[in-house]
């Protein structure tokens, strides 16, 4: 059903716009619904407009046909309210871009929290996060049986004296061919451990700061794109010099349909919800694209944990290597 709506919307001409608008009303949870009104409420929440002035911008039909998406007058955003701003540090800034055209358009300017996007780049903490992410899911399955576990006779192969041969007591002793392995790998062995909470927190903040400092962090208004053609995304990434691999992060579990279809066949462009954002994926992808809503959520959570009053939550307990499954 949703697929039909999307494709139908692209194919119809401007004469059928009333039909499209009526279809839009039918689909509250997909791409089509995330248009001007959603954006304007988002923007309003950061520009501190009153809710009573919640004006849905009037979308002309020309704009609808031209870009596929409607937005309010530019700039959409110039200022964000930042909580817990540290003394003596200015907010860092980033452009807000669009995804609905291949050419980049600057839609506004976003303030970023300096504790999250401008913190000291602790590369070694990033490395320990990466190592943790690689290790905690690893299980070493190698196993070598000891002499007791090997099948076969437990008898002394020949008498101690009188045969003229070397003395032996066991055919499966380690020095025998086909014998047991002393102190060998005793798998399955789990490498699970938990990195301390602070290291995970500062790892994320450092990684986001590094991404922003190296111009690899892009902030877009929404992840809606006008077509589900993979060529469109490839052209867009190529044109904007975003490198090969791109990670899109949105605040919802359900990715925009067009983006999901367009990036589905491209292995190096991936979509992720906010709660899945992690250091390893950010390292792996060259460019990180955050929607404005995702940025809000990420920043809100990280700033909360950086300034919380109980600094040792239960999750901050260090779980040592081997204390789960030995």
């Amino acid at each position: 059903m949703l697929r039909q709506i999307c494709t139908g919307r692209l194919s119809v001409s401007s004469a059928c716009c009333s039909v499209i608008l009526s279809l839009r009303g039918l689909s509250p949870n997909n791409v089509v619904s995330r248009s001007a009104s959603t954006i304007s409420t988002l923007v309003d929440s950061f520009t501190l407009k009153k809710k009573s002035e919640d004006i849905v911008p009037v979308v002309t039909e020309d704009v609808e046909v031209e870009t596929g998406l409607a937005r309010g007058p530019l700039p959409l955003i110039t200022h964000r309210e930042l909580n817990y701003l540290p003394f003596g540090r200015a907010s860092r800034q980033a452009w807000m871009e669009n995804l609905d055209t291949i050419e980049e358009q600057k839609l506004g300017l976003v303030d970023l929290h300096p504790d999250v996007f401008g913190t000291f780049p602790r590369i070694e903490i990033i490395q320990s996060n990466m190592q943790w992410q690689m290790l905690y899911k690893k299980v070493n399955w190698t196993f070598a049986p000891s002499r007791a576990e090997l099948p076969g006779s437990q008898r002394k192969p020949w008498p101690q004296k009188g045969t003229g041969r070397a003395r032996h007591g066991h055919r499966k002793a380690p020095q025998w061919h086909g014998g047991g392995k002393p102190h060998g790998p005793r798998g399955p062995k789990s490498y699970y451990y938990m990195l301390p909470f602070d290291k995970r927190l500062h790892g994320l903040c450092s990684m986001l700061s590094v991404k922003h400092a190296q111009d690899d962090l892009k902030i877009v208004d929404t992840l809606d794109i006008p077509t589900d053609d993979p060529k469109y995304m490839e052209d867009l990434v190529d044109k904007r010099k975003w490198g090969v691999s791109v990670l899109f992060v949105d605040d919802t579990d359900i990715a925009p349909k067009n983006l999901a279809l367009a990036t589905d066949s491209i292995g190096h462009m991936n979509i992720m919800p906010v709660y899945g954002l992690n250091v390893y994926s950010m390292l792996k992808h060259e460019t990180l694209v955050l929607s404005l809503a995702a940025l809000n959520k990420i920043e809100e959570k990280l700033v909360f944990h950086l300034n919380r009053h109980n600094p040792r939550p239960p999750t901050a307990r260090k779980i040592h290597k081997g204390s789960f499954i030995s």
Binding site: R89, F120, P121, E124, I125
Partner: protein
């Protein structure tokens, strides 16, 4: 209010560095295990083996480096002549000597004077094996210099340029690499070897600035800027700049070599056969391309 914090400096530095990725992360430094023992009095072995300086704690004195003179005893060394044997040398030739050579008909002012003309006097020579890169025209005898010449030297100073240009002459500084110096200092000997005339190489990195400087009349400088600097220099030293355009010897004075050329009238790549009195020119495309670049 805001100020530049340490994080800002670090992030600004990171901006110039390669992208942080999976393959270029440094490891978190290991926490070293304490070397001391764990019993009373810190253990009886002091963290070391059961013998030797660690157990007896007979540590070397501070600043001790084995097999080296300690840094606080060492005499500081300034290598004044460091890489001296690699530097470019320019044997001096004074303006007075040049005037003497002209007056005694060792050098003709009817031809442009270059490295070959000076070496042909057999009174001055360059030794490329001693890293002589040509002549340095010095100011000695500047008061008695009266000749009007078109001279090409390898190094000079501003006063010399003013002296030459005041008399209506022109001066160029041009670079010859050592291989070209071998050909230029004695053309007959070079032609006898049967080797083609080499092409002159462009100056090394530290000499580019000098040879592209119009104030130093560099051979790679823009001719329009050189003309402008001639006027500026005349105003600085207070003489009237003779007009070369109206000079009867105009063609002589404005004769210049190509930056790749060593001898007037001969091009790089040509082979001069002295016995048959003929010139052999390359025809191969690769050779032509090499010598034309």
């Amino acid at each position: 209010m805001s100020m530049k914090s340490g994080s800002d400096w670090a992030l600004a530095l990171l901006r110039t560095l390669p992208r942080v990725g999976l393959m270029n992360l440094p490891r978190e430094p290991f926490r070293k295990h304490p070397r001391t023992g764990r019993g009373q009095h810190g253990g009886k072995l002091h963290g070391g083996p059961q013998k030797g300086s660690y157990q007896r704690m007979s540590y070397p004195r501070l600043g001790w480096e084995p097999r080296k003179v300690p840094w606080y005893v060492r005499v500081p060394m300034e290598n004044y002549y460091k890489d001296h044997h690699l530097k470019r040398q320019y044997p001096p030739l004074s303006l007075g000597t040049l005037q003497l050579l002209i007056d005694t008909n060792r050098i003709s002012t009817d031809e442009p004077i270059d490295l070959t003309a000076i070496c042909n006097t057999k009174l001055h020579e360059v030794r490329p094996q001693e890293r002589h890169y040509g002549f340095h025209l010095t100011v000695d005898g500047i008061d008695t210099f009266k000749a009007k010449v078109n001279i090409e030297v390898q190094w000079t100073s501003e006063a010399v340029i003013a002296a030459v240009e005041k008399n209506g002459g022109t001066i160029t500084t041009s670079y010859y690499d050592l291989h070209s110096i071998y050909a230029a200092k004695d053309p007959i000997a070079w032609f006898r070897t049967g080797k083609p005339i080499p092409k002159r190489m462009i100056p090394p990195e530290d000499a580019i600035e000098f040879y592209t400087n119009p104030k130093m009349r560099g051979y790679l400088a823009d001719p329009e800027k050189v003309a402008e600097e001639r006027l500026v220099l005349a105003q600085k030293y207070g003489y009237e700049l003779p007009k070369i355009e109206e000079d009867p010897q105009r063609d002589l004075l404005l004769k210049r070599k190509d930056p790749r050329q060593i001898f007037y009238g001969l091009e790089p790549g040509w082979v001069v056969n002295l016995r048959d009195k003929c010139i052999l020119k390359p025809k191969d495309e690769a050779l032509l391309q090499y010598y034309s670049n």
